[in-house]
């Protein structure tokens, strides 16, 4: 037998085996009731009267009935009924219904298209698909602070995720005017945030001194996301204010330019 004949024989054998293989689907269960099993695709399949429920790992009868959130494989007979359900401890990939199984899904009404559903995911301005798989994405925050920011200042990010804690994310100084922080966030995260110097009184405000609505960041499915921001002013930037801030234990008050001259220094005199 030459090579060509051998290949033809193998192909024929494969086709025969494939033709005999039952149709199966895998996924996560939504419901098991009323003679049907439903997957999280929303599709319901009729159960055969003698359906068996097995543990996928042991191939022994499962110890509990199928429940929502269970991962399972369904095996169909030629009539499109589910004859076997294998429950798995390990997640199966949740995939769209294979074409061979689509005909087995039971639906009373005739399906018709939904004009509200866009056929393709929209893209961002630079062509990145706006899809959200939940994968962890590196997000870099870089901010330019006002030139009047004290040289010893520390800058933080307050976010809605951390209950607007004014010291939620500490940033690192990279030069006189810039700070940076890098975090991993799940794609799809919609983060609202503001920059602070660690307290409510030192939060960023707009260029007109008014409080700002929180900034918004949407984390897309790219490898990295970055945001460059400019803080126009801090809430405590009252430039001719020589007072200390709230939360300070009261100290004797005087509008003096040197806050800690040595004891015994003579006060100015004509």
């Amino acid at each position: 037998m030459n090579l060509q004949s051998r290949l033809a024989a193998i192909l024929c054998a494969f086709i025969l085996v494939a033709a005999a293989a039952p149709v199966t689907i895998t996924g996560q269960l939504l419901a098991y009731q009323d003679g049907y099993v439903f997957f999280t695709t929303g599709d319901g399949f009729r159960l055969a009267p003698n359906v068996v429920i097995l543990d996928e790992q042991t191939k022994q009868p499962a110890k509990h009935a199928p429940e929502p959130r269970d991962y399972a494989r369904a095996v169909f007979n030629a009539a499109g009924e589910v004859v076997e359900i294998d429950l798995s401890n390990k997640p199966y990939p949740v995939l769209p219904l294979p074409e061979a199984a689509q005909a087995f899904a039971v639906m009373a009404s005739t399906p018709y298209p939904n004009p509200e559903l866009a056929p393709h995911a929209p893209t961002t301005a630079n062509g990145v698909p706006e899809t959200f798989t939940g994968k962890l994405v590196l997000v870099k925050f870089e901010v330019q602070v006002p030139p009047t920011t004290p040289i010893n200042a520390q800058v933080y990010i307050a976010t809605d995720v951390s209950g607007w804690n004014p010291q939620a994310i500490e940033m690192d100084r990279i030069d006189a005017l810039h700070f940076v922080a890098v975090r991993r966030m799940a794609s799809g995260t919609i983060l609202h945030y503001l920059y602070t110097r660690g307290t409510l009184q030192t939060e960023e405000v707009g260029p007109n001194g008014l409080s700002l609505k929180p900034r918004e960041l949407i984390v897309y499915d790219t490898d990295t996301n970055s945001t460059n921001s400019v803080v126009d002013a801090w809430a405590d930037a009252n430039t001719n204010n020589l007072l200390s801030q709230p939360s300070v234990f009261p100290t004797p008050y005087n509008p003096a330019p040197f806050p800690n001259l040595p004891r015994g220094t003579r006060t100015p005199d004509p």
Binding site: A121, P147, P246, R263
Partner: protein, 572 residues
């Protein structure tokens, strides 16, 4: 498939409130997920009641799913099904009824009487989230969820450092408005907050805190906020379990789009529980801001009573008052140059009936002042080959200059200049070299500061101080490096050199004022150690837990060798 045409058609309906009961409810804080199993019952404010076996809600996506043996009771009647999902933002409910056989129905705009039978649904409408890598934050028996606002759990067992802590309730706000979570407590090294209860307009919270000064203590905070993000108020008392106690009230009101007023009032009491205080003081700040075209006017008021209850000794009887009005421009680009310029000018007054300053035999109880100043900045000048990111240097510079005149015959000139050069050497390493000089001169028309030599702790006069006649110059050079091995592990180190006049000497200068967590408020205080080395390691040890270790070395400046202790900051 995603929503397309509907994206711009989100209906402005009243916020939906969902009441959930189940055998077991779990909350995943890091993913804003509420999951429930066993005898699930959901009652929604649109009149719909649903029972089933499993519940899943993504609070941020604002949609929920109920699956298995679903029974829907609505204006459309009673129906059984396999699953139902409510996309609250879009007013779409997707239902898999099982009557004679399964079907797919869509309800639009809460119209339960006219289901769209057979209409295609979004592909992931009935998906459960993958929780295999997530950790449960708390479990509960019931929950009230207001869409895009809050969830309030009852019969709670919260996870606290791996232990189950039973709590009667727990409130989580997940809205985007900051008003309801304005913070009136100053920073602490550790703060575990129990949001005991709340709704869309209020939160009552108990704080378990630790800081270096007060050690461990409790604080209480009550938040209020309006619906339209126009106003808020926060009241707090902390440390509630210590005799030295601060009672804070923070308020804010936005009138229209160009005016707002913010206040901060602090009452200090030294009292045992709620007994009559031994001492009490009060501070109030009021800030009013009016926005104009590319400028703003800010009026700032301050009033403080150092002693509300007497006796006058040992507490100061002073009650100073201050007001300032400052007009500030935007930070405007200077023509087509890379420079930016901001200018400001203002007037103000300080008053204390016990006197502010004795000059020439006159006790000044009120001191008026006026000031004018500008800030010129040069941000982000790139030096080097722009095609090689890691070879680029960045130059940043800024100069602030100000003069302030007083009704006491003197004026104060201040100049603050900063320049820095920085470079990103690799993805992990960044360094910068910065130089800052602050010059302050307090100049009197007649007389002024008299040459003197203050005594050192050992009683000898410090003669270098004799050259001080009201002018100080503080020069700070810093070399800093950040090594970011990963987002979860960051190391920074900074070497700082101070070359100041008047020169520093250990123990000569009093400590400058600090805030409640020990940070210096003024940047121009005298007596800083000439050499300082600060290191910090910040590590994320859990999804919501960061440990921050800091320590400083002062090169044997007087008795200072290392900073007093390690600072351990734990935050979310």
């Amino acid at each position: 498939m995603v929503f397309g045409a509907l994206g711009n058609a989100r209906a402005a309906t009243p916020a939906t409130v969902i009441r959930l009961r189940a055998d077991h409810i779990e909350f995943y804080y890091d993913r804003d997920l509420v999951e429930a199993d066993g005898h699930v019952k959901v009652t929604a404010s649109n009149g719909m009641t649903i029972t089933g076996d499993a519940f899943s809600m993504d609070l941020k996506l604002n949609r929920f799913l109920i699956a298995s043996h679903v029974h829907l009771r609505s204006r459309g009647g009673n129906l059984d099904g396999a699953a139902i999902a409510d996309f609250l933002d879009f007013n779409r409910i997707y239902f898999v009824p099982v009557i004679s056989k399964p079907d797919r129905w869509t309800y639009e705009n809460n119209d339960f009487t006219h289901p769209l039978k057979g209409r295609q649904m979004p592909g992931d409408v009935f998906y459960f989230p993958d929780l295999s890598t997530s950790h449960v934050s708390l479990s509960a028996k019931s929950a009230v969820i207001q869409a895009k606002q809050y969830v309030r759990f009852a019969d709670v067992r919260a996870k606290f450092f791996g232990q189950d802590v039973p709590l009667p309730s727990y409130y989580v706000y997940f809205g985007s408005s900051q008003d309801l979570e304005e913070n009136s407590l100053s920073g602490a090294s550790f703060d575990a907050t129990w949001n005991a209860t709340g709704n869309a307009n209020s939160i009552s919270a108990l704080h378990v805190r630790y800081d270096e000064f007060n050690r461990d203590y409790l604080g209480f905070e009550q938040h209020f906020a309006g619906n339209q993000q126009h106003e808020y108020a926060v009241f707090s008392v902390s440390p509630f379990t210590k005799d030295d106690r601060y009672w804070n009230l923070v308020t804010g009101e936005r009138v229209g789009s160009k005016f707002e007023i913010n206040t901060f009032t602090q009452l200090y009491t030294d009292q045992h529980f709620l007994a009559e205080p031994n001492a009490s003081a009060q501070t109030t700040f009021v800030t009013m801001t009016q926005a104009f075209h590319r400028s703003s006017l800010q009026v700032f008021g301050f009033q403080e009573n150092y002693n509300l209850i007497g006796p006058s000794e040992p507490y100061s009887p002073n009650h100073p008052t201050e007001f300032t009005a400052t007009a500030t421009s935007y930070n405007n680009k200077v023509f087509k140059t890379p420079l930016y310029l901001q200018t400001y000018e203002g007037i103000g007054a300080n008053h204390d009936s016990y006197g502010l300053q004795d000059y020439g035999g006159v006790l000044y109880r009120t001191i008026w002042n006026q000031d004018v100043g500008f800030t010129l900045s040069l941000p982000n000048v790139e030096i080097g080959d722009r095609n090689k990111h890691y070879d680029l240097y960045y130059l940043n510079a800024a100069v602030n200059s100000q003069r302030q005149w007083y009704s006491v015959p003197h004026h104060v000139n201040s100049q603050n200049s900063t320049i820095s050069l920085s470079r990103q050497f690799s993805r992990f390493v960044n360094s910068y070299l910065s130089f800052n000089e602050q010059n302050t001169s307090d100049l009197y028309l007649q007389g002024g500061y008299v040459s003197s030599a203050p005594l050192l702790p050992d009683g000898t006069p410090f003669t270098p101080f004799e050259a001080f006649h009201g002018a100080a110059s503080l020069r700070t050079t810093t070399l800093g490096t950040t090594y970011s091995a990963s987002p979860n592990l960051v190391t920074t180190i900074a070497l700082t050199h101070h070359q100041d006049f008047p020169p520093a000497f250990p123990g000569l200068y009093p400590q400058p004022p600090t805030n409640a967590i020990g940070q210096y408020i003024s940047t121009n205080y005298l007596g800083q150690p000439p050499w300082q080395l600060f290191g910090e390691v910040r590590a994320r040890i859990a999804p919501h837990l960061v440990v921050d270790l800091q320590r400083g070395y002062f090169f044997h400046y007087g008795a200072q060798v290392w900073s007093p202790s390690f600072v351990v900051q734990i935050s979310e």
